[in-house]
Symmetry: C2
Subunit: 268 residues, 2 copies
């Protein structure tokens, strides 16, 4: 409602694909998937639809470009050099860490493959947290064209580190796929929790409501879900996300220890 009549666009500046993508991201961030419209876009860029169609084939291509740009930025940001002193400026936000996850093992160096995988994963996690529309867009683009630029980008970032973990090429492919799948699935779900149905609903209320809804499920049909409903309210998204990453990493390294690919159950 506030940022409507934003006219005085310097229409001197030539229209370009980048400017269009940039405006599209702003619209998506501001109003979600439904906010990106060729009409809104023309208004913001002070042109007509034809101008946009000259730079971009159609909406689907525009969305691909937007997705690619945001993902590329997210993956580029992983601080290649930690460099900084090891002050724990990491995740000291709200509420104490509770019990669910301990800090990383001291036995693991800061630039181990594991740590780099966590960094890449968090980069994507944060990108989706910042741009909630990204989750659905990633799924959509993966469906449209797995050979698009986004999939290889993500796959490569993870895969390189997986390779450093060793194992046969086959197990590396499996491991990298599993990590990417987990990341996309988890990030997608968290995009949900993070923003909720819209910017209008408060985050806390949202999780409270969800937790309450879960507690009111039929005890016979949903024993497990009811039992963990409490945790779902208290959990920290990032912590939980990283705990999942660690689970998969444990699986990967445990397999190597037990000698190459094998069945799933070292137990019973």
């Amino acid at each position: 409602m506030a940022t409507r009549t934003r006219r005085s666009q310097r229409r001197t500046e030539a229209l370009s694909r980048e400017r269009i993508v940039e405006a599209a991201v702003e619209l998506l961030d501001a109003a979600g998937e439904g906010g990106l419209t060729f009409r809104a876009l023309t208004e913001r860029l002070a042109t007509g639809p034809g101008a946009i169609y000259w730079h971009v084939a159609n909406k689907s291509e525009l969305l691909d470009a937007v997705t690619d740009a945001v993902v590329a930025a997210a993956l580029a940001i992983e601080p290649a050099e930690p460099a900084e002193s090891a002050e724990s400026a990491e995740s000291a936000e709200s509420a104490e860490p509770s019990e669910s996850v301990e800090p990383a093992e001291p036995s693991e160096s800061a630039d181990s493959p594991q740590e780099k995988i966590r960094a890449v994963a968090l980069g994507l996690f944060d990108a989706i947290d910042e741009h909630p529309w990204l989750a659905a867009q990633l799924t959509a683009q993966l469906s449209r064209s797995p050979w698009g630029s986004v999939t290889p980008r993500i796959f490569e970032s993870i895969g390189r580190q997986v390779r450093a973990l060793g194992g046969t090429e086959g197990s590396q492919f499996t491991a990298a796929s599993a990590l990417v799948h987990y990341i996309l699935g988890a990030a997608g779900q968290n995009a949900a929790n993070g923003r909720g149905p819209g910017p209008d609903v408060d985050r806390g209320e949202f999780l409270d409501a969800a937790s309450r809804a879960w507690q009111e499920l039929d005890p016979d049909d949903y024993p497990f879900t009811r039992a963990v409903a409490e945790q779902m309210r208290e959990h920290d998204d990032r912590e939980q996300f990283l705990a999942g990453i660690d689970l998969v990493l444990t699986g990967i390294t445990a397999r190597h220890l037990s000698g190459g690919a094998a069945g799933a159950s070292p137990v019973s």
Copy 2:
């Protein structure tokens, strides 16, 4: 093009929410996400839009109902009793199993929690394979309302088995979440591979093209992706999917063995 004029609908049968959902599924299966239209729906059901809106609030609610119905069916089907003789009628389709994954360990009983988790996962996998639009729809609904009926349904199916695996309630929550995230992420991606950009493109060509595209990536920027491009063409989706599940399961059980929640690296 063929199944167009399907008029002689017995309009005696009263319209109902179920019939609408049923028709919606058919349209989605036939023509993908874009195929579900209130106009197409009215034509198929031989009514007007008003009639549909009397049974269903809006398109978003209809999609939720459709998603819920399909997921519920998928989860209900998991063959509670294997019963059949152990003839290997499992996955003997095309191409020999190659090397990537061995059959499950003989040490694991057929109705172990692990095996049941695989069954649930495969149920969802197959549902998405059969209804490729489901993947995006799941993401969308999770974003819209995590308290909807779909999330608890899936979460419960997995969680019950996870509980049987033991561990603290906290680790169970983490484990179940990780599994669900992996399943949704992987299934989403596979919905892509399974159908490709449309029903018009052949499956084999599609994967070939993707593999080729990966092999032509810049060797400096994409060493890992290029290296595994070959596997991506040869891999069997279901096998790969199950291998990922097993990876997560290994992670879960390995953690229990090493004594409760811990860091991610039993190695170096």
